[in-house]
């Protein structure tokens, strides 16, 4: 049984079908990247998986539990999924350290000292420990994203979701963040990552899910998708990129 099993996921906004029967698996320890043209539903897919958006139909089983069931404890399941956003979304009123400890203290009910220890460990992993007392406003984009990753990791999630983690960053900072995510990949952290960044896609993925108009058009290893794919849509997408 895969950690995440997505079956026939459909999401419509009004008359517009954004996800049109998406099916895939994510195994524990695996890393998959979701790519596809702008507006094809990548963010919506991630958001449906932890029910930030309500799926219209279909099933999402996470760790054997049906995420879309009416009885599902959505908040408990969300705690098992670390979500990293394009725009970092750090809590502006909290220091770097408090950003990371907040959920530990409030959700995991961890004693303050223990939460701090955990948080500093994760911040160190992201090379951000020395900024523990800084407020988000004083951080660069790359630093903010590293704190956001530490915040997600601190909860010891079963899987990390990334929604375009590098696209708000300049190339240098983006490389830094890619390097850190790659490190997680090598440590076998389970990752589902939406990105337009080919560099990121190649460095962190076991396979790439190519999403087009709300459907999985292909799922394959990066090297098979990136050059001379038989499907003209995929070939032209990556042809344009590289």
């Amino acid at each position: 049984m895969a950690l995440l099993e997505v079956r026939n996921l459909v999401k419509t906004f009004g008359t517009k079908t954004v996800l049109d029967g998406v099916t895939f698996d994510l195994e524990e320890g695996q890393t998959k990247v979701i790519m596809g043209p702008s507006g094809c539903g990548k963010s919506t897919l991630l958001r449906c998986l932890n029910r930030l958006e309500e799926p219209t139909s279909g099933s999402v089983r996470f760790d054997g539990k049906e995420m879309t069931a009416p009885t599902a404890d959505v908040r408990a399941l969300r705690q098992l999924i670390g979500f990293v956003f394009q725009n970092f979304a750090l809590y502006r009123h909290l220091t770097v350290l408090d950003n990371v400890t907040l959920a530990l203290r409030q959700l995991k009910k961890m004693p303050a000292a223990l939460a701090e220890e955990r948080a500093l460990h994760e911040l160190a992993r992201m090379d951000m420990a020395e900024k523990r007392d800084a407020y988000p406003a004083s951080l660069s984009g790359g630093q903010s994203q590293r704190v956001a990753i530490a915040r997600a990791l601190a909860m010891e999630p079963r899987v990390l979701f990334f929604d375009e983690p590098t696209s708000a960053l300049d190339p240098v900072m983006a490389r830094e963040v890619v390097t850190l995510i790659n490190r997680l990949y090598l440590e076998n952290v389970t990752i589902l990552c939406v990105t337009h960044d080919l560099y990121l896609a190649q460095y962190i993925s076991d396979s790439i899910i190519f999403l087009d108009q709300g459907k999985v058009r292909a799922e394959d290893k990066a090297e098979n998708l990136l050059s001379g794919h038989a499907d003209p849509v995929i070939a032209s997408f990556f042809g344009r990129k590289s």
Binding site: N50, L52, R75, A76, L77, R78, Q79, I81, F83, F85, N87, A89, L90, Y91, R92, H93, L102, A103, Q106, L107, Y135, P136, A137, S138, A148, R151, M155
Partner: protein, 224 residues
Amino acid sequence: MGGNFPALLVQLQADLPSLISALGETVLLSVIITINGLIGGLLVFYLTLSNSGVVRKIINGYISIFIGTPLIVFLFLLYYGLPTIGIRLSPFVIAVFGFFLNVSAYNARFLVTAYKGLLPTELEAAKAQGFSRGQIFRLVTAPQVLRLAAPALASQAIQNTKDSSIVFLIQYTEFFAGMQEIAMRSFLFFETYFVTALVYLLLVSVIVLAMRRLERRFTIPGLS
């Protein structure tokens, strides 16, 4: 001009104990109004975020009514109107209750405005972490909107202190009522109201200083 301040001084000395207690009433009332108004404002603001359209309509109606009518009308309604249906409340209770409803409406509106300055993805991040609606409000929304609305809330606190003087109209003996009585008795109108103004100015200055300290303590870079 010049004014006969020595004569007033004699009056003030004679009435000192009652004036001090009246000043105490003003300070007490201002503090109660301000604290109640903050709590009420937060509560009303919380309700404006309700999922229920009916609740939001009622709350917005309440805010509009209290911002749209003079407080004194409401105070008179309670003070002179209620006894006609057999309900008699003390001036203190009416003052506290009336100001509570009025100031809460204003503060709620300040917080609603500040809420527009929050970043939706930040609230979404909290949701994605597994926080409940109540936790998000307590841990993210409230600390941020209170900071963003701080200047407006502070000027409301100053307003409260000044506005508390209107309760003399419902026979509540706070500082202004005390001074009013001296003016009537001594005919030293100019001198009395001049000193009254100075005392209010002093009270407001104390608030301003307190606010500055709070500001220094709670200001966060990037959030104001």
